[in-house]
């Protein structure tokens, strides 16, 4: 029986195949006599027989033999395919390749340094040397050669057999795996794999950083180690989905870190399948969203508690965002605010202007601002001022407009009241001026035509004129100083000059002055004040004069006014009661505001600026006191001022 003696370091599968085909091969090198190459080739042919020859030729592994001089004596089809050429028998040395390179694929390798040459030189197998070959068509293959020496029966080296294993594909697979491994290592996201029973099989650096456990602490452990107790049910749910081959993406949850903290993470889980598509485990990518969550929360909080409305549009000016503040102002649900929907909140008469202004700004990418009124369920609720600017994406491309809406209702009201005030003030100032101017002209007329006769007749006219002029000049002076006080209060420059004085005396003086202005009313005073009062005498006098003058002014049909002044250990109290037109309950808090004037029956108006009580309240408060009113429409009013007794401690 012919015996082929082979000593080949083959891959297991290949060896298996070889053994199956050639069960008689002995792997022990026998002693061998000397043969030349051709003889070996002949011997091979002879020894293989026709069947063996067929097998050699068609085996799907590249095989070739050399004699001891390195000449190629035999090769098979697979070898020709691998080399991309057919070597010349007995002429090509050591290798049938066109060119061979070191494993770097760049440095040429001398043929006499190739593994086959080494095997022949040193009579030993070489299986640890990868080479790269180039084919005549220019393509490269990565090769793992496995040359083994062949011996004759006497144990003499007779040649060598080489099997070339094409490892090009494995090489590129190795590279891909290396790249993947690098990605997994350097990922910011935790990448973890686990078996279907929840045992961790890999744990990358980001997982170590995010969860605080080292890979060696986690691999082989149950993944439930990092799942908070109240979320343990998540795991079977996830596994259930995985077993069905489903992916889970961006599942927001929490995991517990090594030091016990809870981390907000976003989890994506994919099944790992084997070649037969059977699910054998899971890969998990966990993103630490704690910071993202904080940022989100911050933005959300700022946006929803902001006292101003916030909005954003896309590049075409369509609304893409409004905040909770705006939603609550308008009562229009978010989904109806998108696009041009927010416009529904704008009062119909303001829509066109608001729209026009925005479109003009949008065209020129300019800043935008406008005022409009909005309604809620058809009822006008607010005056709004909106400002917006274009915003740009990371690449500097225009991305839309973002802006704010401020509620300027109060400002508008004050503006309107200020307008009214200026109209009213000019009217109020004109009245005494008219009077003064008229009397002066009257005096001029008398003076110009004066003769003894006329002068005597005009005495009374001149006297009345001068008296009225003097009175009206005083009125003008008072109005102008009220204006000055208002401006001082508004700029915080109302200076007080406090010292001790007798409040009782001041009350008597003030009452006398006011009594002179009215013949109709008797001012009745109950003065029980004892001791001294500390404050600005002139300013307190101004307050008392103002309240008494109001009492006269607003009770045109009454015949008296009551005033009481008293003090105890804690407080000094001044009350002034009139029996006039009274004040509606809803107006009562507002009479101390600026520019507010009470209207009488049938819109009867009373002269004055409507700032007297505002100034009075300011002065009283600056003395640590309070001023209040009790009144009924048509039943007169009581104004009460309460000062702390020693208000030095208050000021």
């Amino acid at each position: 029986m012919p015996v082929l003696l082979l000593y080949i370091g083959l891959a297991e599968d290949d060896l298996l195949l070889t053994n199956n085909l050639m069960p008689d091969i002995s792997l022990t090198p026998p002693p061998s006599p000397s043969y030349n190459g051709e003889k070996i080739a002949n011997h091979f042919s002879f020894a293989l027989g026709s069947l063996g020859r067929d097998v050699f030729e068609n085996i799907p592994a590249a095989l070739y033999t050399c004699d001891t001089a390195g000449r190629i004596t035999m090769y098979n089809k697979a070898a020709v395919e691998l080399w991309g050429r057919a070597p010349q028998i007995g002429k090509d040395l050591w290798c049938g390749s066109w060119k061979i390179f070191h494993p770097d694929g760049i440095t040429l390798m001398d043929f006499e340094d190739c593994p086959m040459a080494i095997t022949l030189r040193e009579a030993r197998p070489v299986n640890d040397q990868e080479i790269v070959i180039q084919r005549p068509d220019g393509s490269f293959r990565n090769i793992q050669p496995n040359p083994v020496p062949l011996f004759d029966e006497e144990g003499n080296l007779k040649g060598a057999l080489n099997m070339l294993v094409d490892i090009t594909d494995r090489k590129s697979a190795d590279e891909k795996i290396a790249i993947l491994a690098a990605i997994v290592r350097s990922s910011d996201d935790a990448i973890v794999s686990k078996s279907l029973d929840g045992v961790v099989t890999s744990w990358n650096a980001a997982a170590e950083r995010i969860f605080g456990y080292k890979a060696e602490e986690m691999i082989g452990q149950l993944i439930t180690k990092i799942i908070p107790e109240n979320r343990l049910q998540e795991e079977p749910n996830l596994l259930g989905k995985l077993k069905n081959g489903e992916r889970v993406e961006h599942f927001e949850t929490q995991r517990r870190t090594r030091d016990g903290r809870l981390k907000d993470i976003s989890l994506s889980v994919s099944p790992i399948k084997d070649k037969s598509a059977r699910v054998i485990g899971a890969s998990k990518i966990a993103r630490d969203v704690t910071e993202q969550k904080i940022n989100e929360l911050m933005l959300k909080t700022i946006s929803s508690v902001s006292p101003v409305g916030l909005w954003m549009t896309d590049t075409t000016g369509n609304n893409i965002f409004v905040n909770d503040t705006w939603l609550s102002w308008t009562g229009i649900p978010l989904e109806n605010q998108k696009g041009a929907g927010w416009m529904d909140a704008v009062m119909p008469e303001d829509k066109a202007a608001a729209y026009e202004k925005f479109n003009m700004a949008l065209l020129g990418r300019e800043n935008y601002s406008t005022k409009f009124r909005i309604h809620k369920n058809g009822e006008q609720v607010r005056w709004c001022f909106t400002e917006g600017s274009p915003y740009f994406d990371r690449n500097g491309e225009f991305a839309g407009y973002a802006g704010s809406v401020t509620d300027i209702t109060e400002m508008k009201k004050l503006e309107d009241r200020k307008d009214d005030f200026i109209k009213m003030a000019s009217h109020e100032l004109k009245t005494p001026i008219t009077s003064i101017k008229g009397y002066v002209q009257l005096l001029q007329a008398i003076y110009e035509e004066m003769n003894e006769e006329k002068f005597k007749n005009s005495r009374q006219t001149v006297k009345t004129s001068l008296h009225t002029i003097s009175k009206q000049v005083n009125k003008l002076t008072r109005l102008v100083s009220e204006l000055l006080d208002l401006s001082r209060i508004e700029s915080g420059r109302l200076d007080l000059h406090k010292k001790e004085f007798d409040l009782g005396d001041l009350v008597e003086e003030t009452v006398q002055d006011v009594q002179l202005t009215t013949a109709r009313h008797a001012i009745i005073v109950h003065n029980d004040f004892e001791g001294m009062f500390y404050g600005d005498r002139d300013r307190i006098g101004q307050v008392l004069t103002n309240l008494l003058a109001n009492a006269v002014k607003y009770s045109p049909d009454a015949d008296h006014i009551e005033m009481t002044v008293n003090n105890d250990g804690n407080t000094s109290v001044v009350k002034i009661r009139d029996f006039g037109i009274g004040i509606d309950p809803e107006d009562q808090p507002r009479i101390f505001e600026r520019f507010y004037r009470v209207e009488g029956k049938s819109e009867q108006t009373f002269p004055g600026f409507g700032i007297g009580l505002f100034i009075a309240r300011e002065i009283v408060q600056r003395h640590g006191g309070t001023i209040s009113v009790e009144s009924k429409k048509g039943n007169g009013s009581v104004f009460t001022i309460v000062f702390p007794s020693d208000q030095r401690r208050q000021s």
Partner: protein
């Protein structure tokens, strides 16, 4: 010489007295009404040739009073001059039928010439006034 009676309606007595003295000095006879309610009595008591009325009266709008006088059968022919410190009042006063308007503070010369013109209208103005006051 015929004495013309002028009625001044104003709740600011300082101004009413000033006008009264001035107009009396110029030879007119002057009555004063502090309140609108007094006006009908005065109109009944003597023939009034001219009414000078402030636009803002306590509780009543002078413009409404002017209108009702101009609509009244017996009072329509009485010329009315309205006075106001309100800068934009002129139009509504003239719409209500007032013959003229004087803004406060006023020039005495101005008011005197307007009074004179209202009491002695030129023939053209007379025709206009008559036409204006035709009933219906």
């Amino acid at each position: 010489m015929e004495t013309h009676n002028i009625l001044i309606v104003d709740d600011d007595l300082d101004i009413s007295f000033m006008l009264k003295m001035m107009l009396e000095y110029k030879g007119y006879s002057v009555s004063i009404a502090e309140r609108v309610e007094q006006v009908p009595d005065i109109l009944r008591s003597k023939p009034i040739n001219l009414v000078i009325m402030d636009m803002l009266l306590s509780g009543v709008n002078g413009v409404d009073v002017c209108k009702s006088l101009k609509e009244g059968k017996d009072t329509a022919m009485i010329p009315i001059i309205m006075i106001s410190a309100h800068p934009f009042a002129k139009e509504s006063c003239l719409e209500a039928g007032a013959n003229d308007f004087i803004s406060k503070p006023f020039e005495m010369a101005d008011i005197l010439s307007k009074i004179s013109r209202a009491i002695h209208p030129s023939s053209a103005e007379k025709a206009k006034n008559q036409k204006f006051n035709l009933p219906g």
